[in-house]
């Protein structure tokens, strides 16, 4: 069953899209600035009437330009969490969270409010005014406020873009927990958001859909420039093998990769995770036998060169291995590439310090 179906053209913004989101699915809407992502959200939320188009949510028609239907925003049951929390400054945190349930005249508004305050760990902030909260706290409360009214669809417009990296990471884990199983569209520029939150990726370019597929497939083999740039990092999908003292070991096909533990609290051994490595952090050595090269890096992955290409700063080497290994890109200087005499098919070791590998939760 298709939960959300959007077909819309907005001439003034050069938008012409046709996309769907399945029930319970989280779709990441990617694209460069001006690609039309936020316009799509505005159309779904009813803040913008498309020139032509139709928006359906479940069995309800929210917009139908042919039939001149435009359900007002407040009757759509579509929640929105934007980059700015936009908490009502004159209301306490508790009254902010209660705003949705009371607006929708829910019988259990009071209980719901307390439940959602607890769900985002904001019970101790309930009596404060938004102005007394940090940016991260405000956004947590804004999430509770948006979800407390039980929207049938959640729209997130770069919800973490305005936050510090560490605060964003906490909130990302919270989003992953609270949006689990909810139909969600998230606009983002962040690879980690896609990795942690999205089941599927839709990329917009020039106002139209240019890419649509499962998140890990799109990130592993991006077809649009935008996703390629976004996925400029090596993304090694795998399963968690071991966690200890801030490091995590991940089984990635034939390899075992050790990295910094950036997981949330819950995941145990065997859950889906991904190791992220900057191409420039990888070093390449000749491989003549099974003895890994010495030195400090804890990761030494046996691999075989696929191809080499010139980059502005040197040479990009793409390599893989038998047994379901992903393709990995390593950036080395032109001089190093010449010294090593690399050619497609050459046997190499890829080495990287555990410190340069970040292990994040991933969705399958």
């Amino acid at each position: 069953m298709t939960e959300v179906r959007v077909r819309a053209t907005v001439e003034a913004r050069g938008l012409d899209v046709d996309l769907q989101v399945a029930n319970g699915e989280t779709v990441a809407l990617l694209g460069a600035n001006g690609a039309g992502k936020s316009t799509v959200l505005s159309v779904i939320a009813g803040l913008l009437t498309p020139d032509t188009g139709r928006v359906e949510l479940g069995t309800r028609v929210l917009t139908d330009t042919d039939a001149r239907v435009q359900v007002p925003t407040h009757k759509r049951r579509v929640g929105l969490l934007a980059q700015e929390p936009a908490l009502f400054p004159h209301l306490s945190v508790r009254d902010n969270v209660a705003f949705g349930p009371t607006s929708r005249r829910m019988k259990d508004a009071r209980a719901r409010t307390e439940q959602w305050l607890a769900a985002v760990d904001a019970v101790h902030l309930a009596g404060r005014k938004p102005g007394q909260l940090s940016g991260g706290q405000q956004q947590r409360v804004a999430l509770a406020r948006a979800l407390a009214g039980e929207p049938e669809l959640m729209l997130l417009d770069e919800p973490l873009a305005a936050l510090d990296v560490s605060v964003a990471e906490d909130l990302r884990h919270l989003l992953a927990r609270r949006l689990e199983g909810r139909t969600t569209v998230i606009v983002t520029h962040d690879l980690l958001d896609v990795l942690t939150l999205a089941d599927r990726v839709i990329t917009l370019d020039g106002g139209g859909v240019v890419e649509d597929g499962p998140a890990h497939e799109v990130l592993a083999a991006p077809r649009s420039d935008f996703t390629a740039r976004l996925a400029g990092l090596n993304l090694l999908p795998g399963t968690l093998a071991e966690r200890a003292e801030g490091t995590a070991r991940v089984r990635v096909g034939p390899w075992t990769v050790t990295g910094t533990d950036r997981l949330a609290d819950q995941p145990g051994v065997g859950t889906a995770v991904a190791a992220l490595i900057q191409p420039a952090a990888l070093a390449i050595h000749h491989r003549t036998d099974d003895d890994p090269p010495g030195g400090s890096p804890r990761n030494a992955l046996p691999a075989r060169v696929i191809d080499l290409s010139a980059t502005p700063s040197g040479v990009r080497v793409r390599a893989t291995a038998d047994g379901d290994a992903p393709t990995v890109a390593a950036d080395i200087t032109a001089a190093a590439a010449a010294d090593l005499g690399l050619a497609p098919g050459a046997d190499i070791w890829l080495t990287v310090k555990a410190q340069e590998v970040a292990v994040h939760p991933a969705r399958r």
């Binding site: 939320a45 925003t73 407040h74 929105l80 009502f88 004159h90 705003f99 607006s103 929708r104 948006a146």
Partner: protein, 268 residues
Amino acid sequence: MATTIGRTGRERAQLPGWILVPAIIGALLVLLPLVAILFRVDWANWWPLVTSPASLDALWLTLRTAGISTVACILLGVPMAIVLARGTMPGRRLIRSLVLLPLVLPPVVGGLALLMAFGRFGLIGQYFELVGIRIAFSTTAVIIAQTFVALPFLVVSLEGALRTAGTRYEVAAATLGASPTRTLWRVTLPLLGPGLAAGAVLSFARAVGEFGATLTFAGSLQGRTRTLPLEIYLQRESDPDAAVALALVLVVISALVMALVHGRTQHD
């Protein structure tokens, strides 16, 4: 010349020194006449002059009518400001300019216009006359004249506040399921509070000082239409001391209003 160091520990813009000269002349132009009033006040007889029956009538009438017209300004001006700031109807800019015209219109012209509309033979006034209601030259006319001149002040300041605030809170409220009416009462108006208070105080001040439109449209009948500014103008001929004494009262009221508005905006 040695450079003097101003307040330290604070970033500030560099100003050319000569700009102080016209700035000080301007400030003196505003302040000197007010100080002059203080010198000219007949302090010994100030209290009796201010509490004479004619003065008290004028003072009481002024506060009453200005209060009522301020309420009228709020009841009419808040919806006007919201429609102008948030509405999407065609010709909004033209409507806005026309509605705000009294800001720049000479009050005498405004009074004449009001007479043409609500006077005995006016556009609408003639029909009121038929049912025995006479607006012109009544206390009601004073209130209408004051509202006419003060309303744009409230609308302009509120519209500015609404535009600065933007629509994000209203958008948030709508996505949370709040109807436009609920959003207005629970979000827009509470957030407008400080701006509304400042706008209302300014409107009140403008209503208290209204002269030209009142005189033209409402006349000068003691206790019914002769407000404080009219009384001062009248007394200036017959009893200058009384005029100055009452003028001081208006200066004090204006100063209080200014303090009130400034005190508020500083806090926000």
